[in-house]
Amino acid sequence: MLLELAGRHPLLRADLTPERRADQVVTIDATRLRFISPLDLTAVAALAHATAVASSKSVLRLPSDPRVTSYLQRMDLLAQLPESTIAVGAVPFDVRSDHHTTLLETTLLTPETAPDVSERIGLLALANLGASPGARVARSVGELIDNAVSHGHGQAGAYIAAQAYTGKTTGTRRLEVAICDNGIGVLAHLCRNPDHAGLTDSETALRQALQPGISGTRDSRGNGLPDLLRQAGTTGPTRLVVRSGSGLVRAARHRTGMRTVSTLAAAMPIQGTWAWLRVSFAP
C-alpha cells in the first residue's frame, strides 16, 4: 500500500485514497509535505504500529523540506516509530530546546502515561489560552484522552501530540491536539451496548457518538464528545474531526454558538479511532 501525503491535513480528507500494491509493505510518502500537524504525526505513528503488529513492514519517506523533517524529528515521531519501520531520507541533527509550553511531542498514550500526558496538556492549554479558557479546553482534550485510554489502547497503542500556534501568520491563536489509537473503533464499541447492536456502519456510529448519552455500555455515560464541543466551543471556534473505520465526521462549533456536523464515508478505512481537535482564539 502506498499512501501519499500532500497539502495541509491530508489525513483529515475523506477522499485520501491509498494505492494498493502487491507487496505487504506499507509505504507512507511524506516527501511533499510542507506542513505537519499533530494529526499527521500521531496518525503515522498509529499506522506504523498497526502495520508492525500485523507483522508487516512499513516505510516512511521523509519530507524533502529539511525544516519539515526537523520538526517531525523534534516532535519525536521518529523515536515513536516501531523498529520495523524504515525511515528514508535525510535526518537533520537533533538540536532541541525546551518547548513544553507550546507543544507536546508524539507520545504513547496508555493508562500509565495518561496522568503525565494530562498534566502536559493542561499546562500547555493554560500557558497559551489563559487560565479560564485554558482549563475549559483542557477539559475537552481530557475527554479525548479518556476515550483513547478507555477504548483505544489496543496492542498497537494510542498516540497523542499537540501544538499551540501563536497566530503571528494567521491572526488567530490556535491549539491543535490529535489522538490516534488502534483500539476497537467507534462502531464496535457502541455495538457492545445491546441498545446499539443494530448499528452497521461507522458513519452512523460516529454521528451517534456525537449525541449525548450514546455509549458502548449500559451505564449512564457517552457524553464525552458532546461535552467536548460544548465546553471548547464556548471559548472559541472549535473544529473536531473524528475518523473510525470507514467513517469520518466533521463537527464545528462557531463563535455564534451554531453547531454543524457532517458525516462522510472515507476512502481509506482505518483501524481504531483518530481524533483531531482545533480550538481558535483571537490574539
Binding site: 493508562p111 493542561g122 499546562l123 482549563a135 477539559r139 482534550v141 484522552i145 464525552g224 461535552d227
Partner: protein
C-alpha cells in the same frame, strides 16, 4: 439519645493531579476515598477538597463523585459530606455530573447545593437558617405539608447535606428526629 458523631475528615483530591481526565483516575480516587472511610471511625463530616485541581473532565467527576454519591445513602461511614476548593471549571464538572445523575451536593464555600438542586435549594437555604430543627418546623417555614417536608429532608440526608439525631418529641410522647446543618 444517640451519640452524635464528632470527627471530621478531609479528602484532598489534588494528589491525583492538577488535571484529572480519565475514568480510571476517578475510579482510583473513589476507591481510595472509600478505603479511607472504611479504615477510620464513623465521621460526622467529610470534606472532599478540590483545592489545587485546575480542571477535571465530566467523566472523571462522574466516576469519582457521581458513583460515590450513589453509594453514600447505603453506606454509614459518614453523616455529612461537602465539596470544597472548587473553581469555576471544576464546579461546572461537578454540576454537570450531579445533574445527570439527579444528585446534589453541598458546596462548602458558597453553602449552596450543586447539581440537581432546583427543588431543594430553597429547602436547604431554609434549613441553614433554622440550623437545628424538627421536620414540622421546616414544613411550617416553607408552608408545605409534613410528608412533603419529610421527603425533602430524606433526600438532603441521603446527599449528606444534613445530619439528624433521634430525640424525645416536644410533648415527650414519642421519638422524632432533630435535624441540623453540619458546621
Amino acid at each position: 439519645m444517640k451519640t452524635t458523631r464528632q470527627g471530621t475528615i478531609t479528602f484532598p483530591v489534588q494528589p491525583y493531579g492538577q488535571f484529572l481526565f480519565t475514568r480510571a483516575a476517578g475510579a482510583t480516587a473513589r476507591a481510595d476515598l472509600e478505603e479511607r472511610l472504611r479504615r477510620s471511625d464513623a465521621q460526622a463530616l467529610l470534606t472532599i477538597d478540590f483545592t489545587g485541581v485546575t480542571a477535571m473532565t465530566n467523566s472523571f467527576a462522574d466516576e469519582f463523585l457521581g458513583k460515590f454519591y450513589t453509594l453514600l445513602a447505603a453506606e454509614n461511614a459518614v453523616e455529612a459530606v461537602q465539596l470544597g476548593g472548587l473553581n469555576e471549571e471544576t464546579r461546572d464538572a461537578v454540576n454537570v455530573c450531579l445533574q445527570r445523575r439527579k444528585q446534589f451536593a453541598v458546596d462548602a464555600e458558597s453553602r449552596t447545593l450543586l447539581g440537581d438542586a432546583e427543588v431543594l435549594a430553597d429547602t436547604y437555604r431554609c434549613a441553614r437558617e433554622l440550623n437545628t430543627f424538627r421536620a414540622a418546623e421546616l414544613a411550617e417555614e416553607l408552608h408545605i405539608s409534613l410528608p412533603n417536608a419529610n421527603n425533602r429532608l430524606k433526600r438532603l440526608l441521603e446527599a449528606g447535606a444534613l445530619r439528624r439525631e433521634r430525640s424525645a418529641g416536644p410533648d415527650r410522647g414519642g421519638k422524632e428526629f432533630i435535624y441540623s446543618v453540619p458546621a
